[in-house]
């Protein structure tokens, strides 16, 4: 896969939407397990900045620490060390203010399965201070744009396909008009068509609504297609960062897959198949 050069990279202002400095997170085994388990260093001194209006893609194999980083940035985990700021706000000290600026889509579309897309999204809107009067027309508009028919919006979500559920998850994040959107493998498990629709929507979201997007993926094509800059995460460390062409130039040219192999010693597919969290 050749690296595509994306036009119109919007990093002129250089306002940091997200700034992480030397962030570390380790998970220790439960003490009750007799002699069992070793400490897993999931994130090991990661520093990165995502500029306002940028799509930044974290590329890494399973177990490389991508999801842990996203959970740290979305206030679901507290770092053992380091500082994370969202638009200058400390995620620990200014937690509530940070929560108003962010939203997240995870690999699993997590909803109240018996409730419809409309009920779930109206509820989600309320949590972000959006009244049902305001949210309902907006929900219909977003879901239509994502290709979900009106009749499906009032069906229990458990009756919708995985792809549709993931689109509803993206609509939920979009509903709160986040300044920083954290997408944790949002297209994993989707068919090609749904994947493309989601990718188009993500790009439109950035272009039309001034959103900053941090995306994790282990899909090289997705990274090249969407990202303004790419960070490669390996064993909890950010081993390289730059535009696709910068990475290629620095690490021997060729494809993004070649770059990944040069930096990690493995093909991404092989790493996914055999990787696990690393014990220290």
């Amino acid at each position: 896969m050749a690296i595509q050069i994306r036009q119109g990279v919007r990093t002129e202002k250089k306002t940091a939407a997200l700034a992480a400095s030397d962030v570390r997170k380790a998970f220790r085994p439960a003490r009750v397990v007799p002699g069992g388990g070793t400490t897993v260093r999931a994130v090991d001194g990661v520093s990165l900045s995502v500029w306002r209006g940028e799509i930044y893609c974290l590329l890494g194999a399973n177990g490389s620490g991508k999801s842990t980083l996203i959970r740290l940035f979305s206030t679901l985990l507290t770092p053992d060390a380091g500082v994370v700021r969202v638009f200058g706000l400390d995620i620990d000290r200014d937690e509530l203010a940070v929560k108003r600026l962010i939203n997240r889509v995870s690999v699993e579309a997590s909803f109240f399965k018996k409730l419809s897309a409309m009920e779930n999204l109206v509820y989600a809107g309320r949590l972000y201070g959006v009244s049902p009067e305001e949210s309902r027309p907006k929900i219909v508009s977003i879901l239509r744009r994502l290709g979900i028919e009106d009749a499906r919006m009032t069906e229990p979500l458990e009756k919708l396909s995985r792809g549709m559920q993931q689109k509803v998850a993206i609509a939920r994040a979009f509903l709160s008009t986040p300044m920083l959107l954290l997408l944790d493998e949002p297209t994993t498990g989707l068919d090609i068509r749904s994947k493309r629709e989601v990718q188009t929507f993500v790009r439109d979201l950035r272009d039309e609504h001034d959103a900053t997007i941090l995306l994790t993926t282990h899909d090289l094509d997705e990274a090249a297609r969407l990202a303004d800059r790419i960070g490669i995460l390996h064993q909890g460390r950010l081993v390289a960062e730059g535009t696709a062409e910068e990475l290629a130039a620095r690490h021997g040219g060729g494809t993004l897959e070649d770059v990944f192999m040069t930096l990690t010693g493995r093909r991404l597919d092989d790493a996914d198949a055999g990787d696990a969290e690393r014990p220290t």
């Binding site: 998970f27 959970r71 206030t75 985990l77 108003r100 939203n103 109240f112 399965k113 989600a124």
Partner: protein, 278 residues
């Protein structure tokens, strides 16, 4: 300030609306719980009706009627308090199971507002269930409320709800800390409270160590006061000796439960336990 309070109430209402929508979707289960509540309460009432025959005691209809009401007050009050305990305890476990826990905790909603919303939803459900059970039971067995002081009973019920909310918030900490076994722990706490609170008997018959537990259970005072109000028509002054301990437990347990919950949330974030299961 008023706008902020209004905004927080709006946020809290999101949880009430969600719970109502979930009840509608899970209507078959709601009917199951209602039938279960009616059947359990009726069974207890029939024990009272059949007691003279079993024990060879007095078959005086007035005494039997009093015994029926004695047991019904215990079982229906416990149903009310127990539902508060269960539903608040399941606040975390349910969301973990649905997979929505991360989204709820990521939302810009102060935890106090979140729990306030859940408490309001819980109270609506518990009150609805209790009234429905009492009405259904009254169709089958004679319920003599001619001497009852309803105002005192309602005040006691409201006080008991407040006191139980604190305990329930505290018990919701278990599923937050122990992702797999936390809910079971909360149920054990609830079972112990049932045993020591004099739901079906006077706490004086319990062994000494259990009486110590009954002393700190708010249900003990609420159920005792409810009996005084509904069986003997005790007014507020007469139920005060049972009212103030329940108020005291509420005044202590709500801030304590909330503080415990916030501590547990921070611990869960530190150890990676704030996540879905299954």
């Amino acid at each position: 300030m008023i706008a902020d309070v209004g905004a927080q109430l709006g946020l809290a209402y999101a949880f009430v609306e969600r719970e109502i929508a979930l009840s509608k979707r899970y209507w078959a289960w709601e009917i199951v719980w209602l039938v279960y509540g009616v059947v359990t309460s009726l069974s207890v009432a029939y024990i009272a009706l059949g007691a003279p025959g079993l024990t060879g005691g007095s078959g005086d209809p007035a005494l039997v009627s009093r015994f029926v009401l004695y047991l019904l007050v215990g079982t229906i009050t416990w149903r009310f308090l127990g539902l508060i305990f269960e539903q608040m305890g399941e606040t975390i476990a349910w969301e973990r199971w649905e997979g929505t826990i991360e989204y709820t905790f990521m939302a810009p909603v102060p935890r106090l507002t979140h729990l306030l919303g859940m408490c309001a939803a819980t109270l609506v459900r518990a009150l609805g269930f209790s009234v429905a059970i009492l009405a259904a039971v009254a169709l089958f067995v004679p319920v003599d409320l001619s001497h009852a002081n309803i105002a005192s009973a309602l005040v006691l019920l409201a006080t008991g709800a407040v006191a139980f909310i604190g305990l329930a918030i505290g018990s919701a900490v278990f599923p937050l800390l122990w992702t797999e076994k936390g809910l079971q722990m909360a149920y054990i706490v609830q079972a112990v409270v049932l045993l020591v609170s004099g739901v079906y008997y006077e706490t004086t018959i319990l062994p000494g160590w259990m009486q110590v537990l009954s002393f700190i259970s708010p249900a003990t005072y609420v159920i005792r006061g409810m009996r005084d109000a509904l069986l003997d028509g005790a007014d507020l002054a007469a139920v005060w000796p049972n009212l103030w301990p329940a108020l005291l437990v509420g005044a202590i347990s709500i801030p304590l439960g909330l503080r415990l919950f916030l501590w547990a949330e921070r611990y869960a974030k530190r150890t990676g336990r704030l996540k879905r299961s299954g």
